[in-house]
Symmetry: C2
Subunit: 338 residues, 2 copies
């Protein structure tokens, strides 16, 4: 174990998150939903969406830009298009409110959508589709965000890192979940390279003049590049933008930016989740057949199923807890006093 | 005009396709649906899905691997999950049968899916989502195919070039349509480089030993690379595989391959189309807001909206017809005698 790390059980991680959030005027119910995602991220080895994020949750609540006590409101109940208005709060409580109705509706109609708007997404995306897949549904989701990426050939950022995720149920095992940003690299990776004084790989970003750069500072002032560097990746970002914001009524990235004052507050973008009940589509269904496909991926050279490392970290964390860097632990502790 | 080209009006293109197909035991109704996609491809400057494809349509019908007189059967009518069994025929007539019910159902329930199986997809993918978008719906589609692409880190092809497409309605204008293959390059592009004796760019493919190659022959014996070259592109291909084949009951790529005898016949893969009625999701809806987003893309340096060149070609073709390479014209003419 890293001597600069603090070993915590998962219940301790959860309690710490709860304490930091409720001390900052997040209601207990909302804090619960957020602490669950933070704990799941720590559990699965995704530290970048774990306790490290608590200051990012707390700051916009303290500044008043996000309502920590928001009560999300469910619309469209009983129809195939469910909607949640997050009430200018966080996305985690909004999704929690709609999850069971979404699963029920999907079982009934074979397909159903959930549109989340007026809520700030700040967690790991794979988490959002795992629960429906644990209940036997195929689930996909799309989230847009503040613009950091220009369309292919352009210079002015229009798209966020616009991630998408898909979760596929597996018989007797945790779902297979693939998630990705539409950008070649995570924004946090560029920031991290800057903090370490390291150049970024060519192909991640252009500087403010539209030239390829390896300088993290210049990259952050310029535009990130989409996956593959060209029109396909930018098209994926556009697809996410249309589904996540266009359909839901959330802000397009450029609209979010116009309202942004640089305090790290909410982008008020949107999220779309679509669930499918495989048994309503074909017989034999996806779950009966998918292991054959997965078997062709695993054991194919060095190929692995997406999310494999995450599930290995999960097994380890459930057995032995997690090691949290001391700085992140202290930061979280400091938030626990109002 | 190219002296080696034959100039045809669009009705002449259509008549030529009809004649070639019906002369090869494709029923008039099925031939109509196919000739429509072939003509639309020629009209929009997508020659690779135009008259050039007629031999590929005709050969498996003549060999009996595809039933040119198949009658597709619609299932799930009145529900949000529509299904078409293509009856071992082509996908174009199968989609045509389900299109109106799909649009109607989407208007009713806000979201609806169409699962096509037991049908051979051989056309341009953008075509499949244009009609719903012309009627005000947002539409996305996914098609899988015979394996030519290994998962990231693997050597054995598992995924097809697995394309996806999204069509977005625009007020008073043709829909914006983005379509892409999950692979870095189209397979046809590699074949074309081989025919011209040109090397392919590094990053398109690996040879049979898993090494990067610029040799088209070696590439075709090895594995194509996914967009971006790594895990993200492979994940997109996996997503397409799960949605297009996993949900619909179509063959996964590896299953299609097991049944393949190399005659260019059908892969019997699957297709999923999902339609959304924006007015059922948010107010103001997507169509009211999307021009603001598109305006940020066009006029952003050299950036263009996806499909722009296609629509320019369309305007030109509608006015002046199309120039078809003489070889392709002669090939099509030759098919018109049974």
């Amino acid at each position: 174990m890293d001597t600069d790390a603090v070993r915590l059980t998962l219940p301790e991680v959860h309690a710490l998150a709860m304490q930091a959030l409720t001390a900052s005027n997040v209601s207990p119910g909302n804090a619960q939903a957020i602490a669950d995602t933070v704990t799941a991220a720590e559990r699965d080895g995704c530290g970048s969406h774990g306790l490290m994020r608590l200051p990012g949750y707390v700051a916009p609540v303290r500044s008043g830009r996000i309502d920590g006590r928001a009560t999300p409101v469910l619309g469209g109940a009983g129809s195939t298009v469910l909607k949640v208005d997050g009430g200018r709060g966080f996305q985690a409580p909004a999704l929690r409110l709609a999850l069971e109705p979404l699963v029920e509706q999907t079982r009934k109609s074979g397909i159903a959508a959930l549109a989340i708007s007026n809520a700030h997404h700040f967690g790991a995306l794979w988490y959002d589709v795992e629960a429906p897949a644990e209940q036997g549904l195929l689930a996909i989701t799309f989230v847009n965000s503040r613009p950091v990426m220009a369309p292919a050939g352009g210079r002015e950022p229009v798209f966020g890192t616009n991630p998408l995720a898909i979760a596929c149920p597996r018989p007797g095992r945790p779902p297979m979940i693939f998630d990705m940003a539409s950008s070649q690299s995570a924004r946090g990776e560029i920031i991290l390279h800057g903090l370490k004084g390291q150049p970024i790989p060519l192909g991640w970003a252009l500087d403010g003049d539209g030239n390829p750069t390896t300088d993290p500072e210049e990259a952050l002032k310029g535009t990130q590049l989409p996956v593959g560097g060209g029109a396909k990746g930018a098209g994926i970002a556009l697809m996410v933008e249309l589904l996540a914001a266009g359909l839901t009524g959330g802000n397009f990235g450029f609209e979010a930016n116009a309202a942004y004052d640089g305090d790290g507050g909410p982008s008020n973008a949107g999220q779309l989740i679509i669930c499918f009940d495989p048994r309503r589509f074909a017989d034999p269904g996806l779950t009966d057949r998918v292991e054959g496909l997965f078997g062709r991926i695993e054991g194919n050279g060095d190929a692995r199923l997406p999310g494999g490392r995450r599930l290995e970290a999960r097994a380890e964390s459930l057995a032995n807890g997690v090691a949290v860097p001391a700085g992140i632990y202290q930061q979280a502790r400091a938030l626990c006093t109002p």
